[in-house]
Amino acid sequence: MPTENQQKGKGREFNPHSGLPSNSSNLLIQLTEDVHTDILKMFIRFDMYNQFKGSTNCYSMQSSPVYLKRSDIKTAFENKQDAISFMKNFQNEHELLEYHQSKTTTESRNAVKYLLHLKEIAVINRINSLAQIKDAGSGHPGGSLSETEILLVLYEIMRHKPADSDWMERDRFVMSKGHATPGLYAQLAMCGYFDHVSCSFGSEILSGFDLLRTFRKDDGYLPGHVKVGVAGIDASTGSLGTGLSIANAFAYVMKKEMPEATAFVLMGDGELQEGQITEACTFSSHYNLGNVIAIIDNNGVQNDFETHMTKNINPIGDKFRAAGWEVISGGMKWEERQTPFRNGHDIVFLINALVRAKEIGREKNVPVVIVADTDKGHGVSFMVEGKGEWHGKAPNDELYDKAMAELQESLRMVRELYAKI
């Protein structure tokens, strides 16, 4: 966790909102020279969503969707719990990387490997999210790409058993933004939830990652919006605003019957316009549900346009705080939002936030919300720049290839980075 100095913004030269070194713009200018030797600079370059804008070289056009699987993961790490404990010393990825670069230790190497492992999976999940949408010809890319790291880290922290999805004592997750399914399905496939499912689809019997091909299809396994019956899904959603109420019920029962368990819910920022969330918000605090953790995928964009232009729901944290919640956020003021480098894509921030949220909730007996600032369409430059344009439609062949080229470049970059750790 940050030291007092860091919290006050003293001592370190990091922008407290973006997590970037405060001289990052200079750094980026110098990138061309030493990018292949300085891992921190390489990392910054990797993280710039638009770094690969227009990048098409090296990759053949592939407008028929290709899915990546667990066997495509090239990175590995030694010990997850050690890595998570070590990450607690840092506010964000860049701090961890910088530490590792200057004082390489066994622990820091393990933590950075774990970080890059998750970064690689995040790119793979993005590729699989867009592949589903392209395959189906429809779906919600923007929100699926903004939630990628949140879901990835959540499933790292949650107590769950993909091989036994009905395990009664498990943590529950409610995907309140129930339209952003491609991102969730990609994550569930990665966790292995679909390995235990077999489903007939046309003349085939499908299982595991192959089920992603059935998204939104006639007689497919994966419905357009979140629905109970799909392995790993705890509650049906799709009509916005219902998830927190459901998570409250899970938490209410768990508090009595399985005190170890936590109820997580992911909501979009636009979704917070729904009045039911205000109703549910009060319930969580009134009943001291310290086992409810809400995460806001605060991508700042909703169906029509930017959230603050449509109906401004900011400041989000203050509203939850006023309703009796503890708030964890990157501290960025909504007026100062700028792309890229949102805390909602920062794995170190998210891991710490979730671990801390579980502790705070139980210590103080209050619900905790994590405001994760994200980019709608993160990882694909034109989707981020398109604002509301990429909320709910599939890219054409040309744009799909463009998106894949950018993501493939990310993948190559993270693997290259890993090789240098």
């Binding site: 629905k227 049906s236 959603t237 009509s239 109420s245 459901i246 029962v253």
Partner: protein
């Protein structure tokens, strides 16, 4: 079958039974949106505070919350006014997606019979709205306290969702003690069994229909009366046939929009198929402020109003 209640009681008093039901089943939860006394659930609240959950004035939250409880393996009775339950219509619909659960939406103060609050609190489209909700398996409009209690008990035995409508105004027991209420079944009163005219009534209209039967009889017109509380699923053809046997005029009576998806509409296809003429008694549009008696009179839904309309139907 529970103990037969002989005193006058409103169907909304089923809330008094929750304590016993909760004692018998530790998985049964009751949720409420700030209407404990109207719903008669204060006793349950005192006896089982952990399982009788106060949601505050938050119907949508209450319904999604109940869905969450049901997903955790609980049986849930959701309680509020009939008009306000409809604020969660979409939440009810969404809660039915993907898995069968035991959730009972128990609405009260239904119809214009609620009286003086006026039309803002008078649910006259709820039966239709809930019948049109794929998240609801059964829509029930019980006619007296004994039937309401018995149907509620049956609903808790099945992994299904139901909307049960209850009323504020007390009524004497109307169904005989030896009758066993069942979902999907109606009761044909034995009086004037050979008449070719029948009123089929649901909910609070049964009392008025039985009174109208006496009034008509004193002016020489004999009619039959049947109680039918199952609105969804529509009673099967056999049951409808049993109730309307030898009839050539069926009058459906409901404290609801008469063309609003309630009893009249639930029976219309079957009656049409049997080639039997149907007339309807009920509301055409908004109610207004007034006493229950005054409003039933105003809209022709009290015994006199029904009597008058039956005569008109016969003259046409």
């Amino acid at each position: 079958m529970q103990k037969y209640n002989t005193a006058k009681a409103a169907t909304r008093d089923v809330g008094n039974e929750y304590v016993d039901l909760m004692a018998a089943d530790e998985n049964l939860y009751v949720v409420n949106a700030d209407l404990s006394d109207s719903l008669k659930i204060r006793k349950a609240k005192n006896a089982y505070p952990g399982r009788t959950i106060e949601m505050g004035i938050s119907e949508q939250d209450m319904i999604s919350f109940s869905y969450g409880l049901a997903l955790m393996g609980k049986k849930v009775i959701v309680n509020t006014f009939a008009q306000f339950m409809q604020r969660g219509w979409d939440q009810i619909y969404q809660s039915g997606r993907g898995k069968k659960l035991n959730i009972i939406y128990r609405a009260t103060h239904a119809g214009i019979g609620v009286g003086q609050d006026g039309e803002s609190a008078q649910a006259i489209g709820d039966l239709g709205a809930m019948r049109a909700n794929a998240g609801i398996d059964y829509v029930l409009d019980p006619v007296d306290y004994n039937e309401a209690v018995e149907l509620l008990r049956q609903l808790l035995q099945e992994n299904r969702t139901a909307y049960m409508r209850t009323y504020r105004q007390p009524v004497s027991p109307l169904l005989p003690q030896n009758y066993e209420p069942k979902i999907g079944r109606g009761f044909l009163f034995p009086q004037n069994i050979n008449s070719s005219i029948i009123i089929i009534a649901s909910g609070s209209m049964l009392e008025q229909a039985l009174k109208a039967q006496s009034l008509l009889e004193s002016s020489g017109i004999k009619i039959k009366v049947a109680a039918l509380s199952t609105i969804k699923p529509s009673p099967d053809a056999g049951e409808v046939k049993r109730l309307v046997e030898n009839s050539n005029l069926v009058i459906t009576a409901e404290d609801h929009l008469k063309y609003g998806g309630g009893l009249g509409d639930a029976l219309a296809p079957a009656l049409n198929k049997l080639g039997i003429r149907q007339k309807r008694i009920g509301m055409d549009s908004y109610g207004t402020t007034g006493t229950p008696e005054g409003l039933y009179k105003k809209y022709g839904m009290d015994a006199e109003g029904i009597t008058r309309q039956v005569k008109e139907f016969l003259n046409k």
